[in-house]
């Protein structure tokens, strides 16, 4: 997993609630058996005016000029500002893969769907929850100031404007934070408890043999 510590990144706005994972990465791109290469198809149905399929040369497809991420001022954005319940719907991990493949390292929203939240953490995509009021203000900032950037400091758990005039604190589980800061392989961490897992399993098999057969 990619480490996350400090990010000073350009912010792009996605000003709609309940953005679902079907919108983030449409199903035709789920046929790939790889973890990479999804970036050009992030928000595919909104991003292009034609219908996309795997195997196309996406650089040659007609882009939708009205789609926010196609605007010149948001090219190279690493922080996505979003509305409530971002990432709802399907459990496809292709959603965080696509966001990261397109260069995003952090999404800031008032709330996230649970499965998307877990999937993102496992890939080093930091999800930050701020209040609706703070998010409203940030949407205003992004719209008003071309080139608007934010500094996300995971160690300090803060999101701040580059001039430090505003600093928002955010919460994160200490375990998740530890894994993100160190880019740790969670499987390796879990296997440190292999003896405990085996003991639990043996006990369970004795008590309820029909579950582990």
């Amino acid at each position: 997993m990619e480490k996350f510590s400090l990010l000073n990144g350009l912010v792009a706005p996605m000003d709609r609630a309940n953005v679902d994972t079907d919108a983030i990465i449409p199903k035709q791109f789920l046929k790939s058996i790889k973890r990479t290469g999804y970036g050009p198809n992030l928000f595919d149905a909104w991003r292009y005016t034609d219908h996309g399929e795997p195997g196309m040369d996406h650089s040659k497809r007609p882009k939708n000029p009205d789609f926010v991420l196609n605007q010149a001022r948001y090219q190279g954005a690493q922080i996505l500002l979003a509305r409530k319940n971002f990432g709802c719907g399907s459990s496809r991990e292709h959603a965080p893969w696509a966001l990261m493949d397109d260069g995003f390292r952090c999404v800031i929203a008032p709330s996230f769907a649970d499965i998307f939240f877990n999937n993102s953490a496992k890939n080093g995509l930091l999800l930050v929850v701020l209040s609706e009021a703070d998010i409203d203000r940030l949407f205003y900032d992004v719209a008003s100031f071309p080139g608007f950037r934010l500094i996300v400091d995971l160690e300090k758990q803060t999101v701040s404007t580059t001039d430090a005039s505003r600093v928002h604190h955010f919460d994160i589980d200490t375990f998740r934070k530890y894994c993100l800061l160190n880019g740790l392989d969670e499987i390796g961490l879990t296997l440190r408890h292999a003896d405990k897992i085996r003991a639990f399993e043996n006990q369970r098999t004795m008590q309820f043999p029909w579950y582990t057969r």
Binding site: A17, K31, E93, D114, I197, F208, W210, R213
Partner: protein, 471 residues
């Protein structure tokens, strides 16, 4: 203080807890399908790891599989990328193994959330995971079941555990008796309409009350299936006689003395009378009418006797814009009566509504009637080979065919249109699936979620009608 059903399931699976409450949860059953597993098996291989307990894995190919021309075999899958994904699952099963694998073309193949329960591979008291959000379905059996991502699939394969934080307890109580023609699908759509698509975020929702206890296991699965559409990763229904009766004699259900022991334990899988829930919501069964979604989120739902809402009457700006965007996408005008919405296609199937009871309900409406001439295609896709065989034994296939429906082979099909079954841009569909998101059933396609009986009624009429008035 008493424990909720969720508390009991959680407590009986915790292997280890970190200081911040993050826990390692032991996983009993791991359902695997072709779309979210290839990267997980690849990760396992790269790291040189082996699956922890192969007997936990029940696998099938369902998302990409075609629903016609099975006599052509694997060559019938014309999309080479779809075929590669199915062949990759075959290869992974050969290399790593499973408790049981129902490959494409097997007579027990089907949608992963249909085959688990019908084979008794989903049992009360289990933890069940799958790289698919509709894993919440299995909670109908009082097991802790939720969808996971591909990294978690790999994690469960390698460690038999999932890293989890405990969720909150939410209870949705439906008291009373459902009216004639009102089904489990209408119940869950009405719940989502009430609490919203984020209403259950961070929670496990237990569905309770006489309106839920009166449902069959099929109906309970429909309700739990869409818990995720209310934001909850897990839905739950307590064990009762209906649960136990359903499981008796299933291929992987315990038998003999073990059956008696299991049933004794399963009967404890109910919330204690004095258990505390963090959130409670109550609906009256009698007030629920057949539901139809009008927008691009399952919470955008209305009773069949209602009309498309008017965004001008919505005060919240973000919500208003969402409604306007949804109506533009759906090609609908505010205040249009739901019954005036004409449709092009009908899809009866998906992990929400493709079980035998669903097909019986749809067939009861279709019997002796004809699909309207304006309908381009009305397809019925059974949830599994076993459901299909049962339906054919009961003559339901003949009823559907005589009424002008397509009778297909099992799979996920047009619920998410990864195979060849899909909507064309602008086409409008009455669908028994679970998501009406933009493009879900095909780019530009317009989805209205309904029950199987309502879908069949719409197929016959060519537009939405109140199935209660069909007689």
């Amino acid at each position: 203080m008493g424990q909720t059903l969720y508390d009991k399931l959680w407590n009986s699976h915790v292997v280890h807890t970190e200081d911040d409450g993050t826990a390692l949860l032991y996983i009993d059953r791991h359902l695997v399908h072709e779309v979210t597993s290839p990267q997980a098996y690849e990760g396992l291989k790269i790291a040189g790891r082996k699956p922890w307990r192969v007997s936990s894995v029940v696998a099938t190919a369902d998302h990409n599989t075609p629903t016609n021309d099975w006599h052509l075999g694997i060559a019938g899958i014309t999309d080479p990328i779809s075929r590669l994904q199915i062949e990759t699952l075959d290869a992974n099963m050969r290399e790593y193994g499973a408790k049981v694998y129902f490959p494409f073309l097997d007579k027990r193949q089907g949608i992963v959330h249909v085959i688990g329960p019908e084979n008794g591979a989903t049992l009360p008291g289990m933890t069940v995971v799958c790289g698919d959000s509709h894993t919440s379905t299995h909670g109908a059996f009082a097991c802790l079941a939720h969808g996971i991502g591909t990294s978690e699939v790999e994690h469960v394969l390698a460690t038999q555990c999932l890293v989890q934080k405990k969720m909150q307890n939410m209870r949705v109580t439906i008291d009373g008796t459902l009216g004639r023609g009102v089904t489990a699908k209408d119940v869950v759509l009405a719940i989502i309409g009430r609490i919203g698509t984020a209403g259950g975020t961070g929670c496990a929702i237990e569905f309770a009350g006489s309106g839920i206890r009166g449902l069959s296991m099929e109906g309970r699965m429909t309700v739990c299936n869409m818990a995720i559409e209310a934001g909850a990763r897990a839905g739950l229904v307590a064990v009762d006689e209906t649960t136990i009766e359903y499981l008796k004699g299933r291929p992987f259900s315990p038998s003999g003395v073990e059956w008696e022991q299991a049933v004794a334990y399963w009967r404890t899988l109910v919330s204690d009378a004095d258990a505390k829930f963090d959130r409670e919501v109550t609906l009256r069964a009698e007030e629920i009418v057949p539901q139809v979604t009008w927008g691009t989120s399952p919470e955008m739902v209305m009773g069949i006797d209602g009309a498309v809402p008017d965004p001008d009457r919505e005060k919240d700006a973000v919500r208003r814009e969402g409604m306007e965007r949804a109506l533009a996408y759906m090609g609908l005008k505010p205040r249009t009566p739901i019954q005036d919405i004409r449709i092009d296609k009908v899809f009866i199937g998906s992990c929400t509504n493709s079980r035998i009871e669903d097909l019986r309900a749809a067939a009861a409406v279709a019997k002796g009637r004809r699909v309207a001439a304006t309908i381009k295609v009305a397809m019925v896709v059974p949830g599994s080979g076993l459901v299909k065989a049962q339906a054919e034994k009961e003559g339901l296939d003949r009823i559907f065919r005589e009424a002008g429906f397509d009778w297909r082979e099992p799979g996920c099909s047009m619920c998410l249109a990864m195979n060849a079954d899909r909507l064309e841009p602008g086409e409008r569909c009455a669908s028994t699936s679970n998501r009406n998101f933009e493009g879900r059933q095909g780019a530009g396609g317009r989805t209205h979620l309904v029950s199987p009986a309502m879908a069949a009624a719409a197929a016959v009429a060519g537009h939405f009608v109140d199935v209660r008035k069909l007689g």
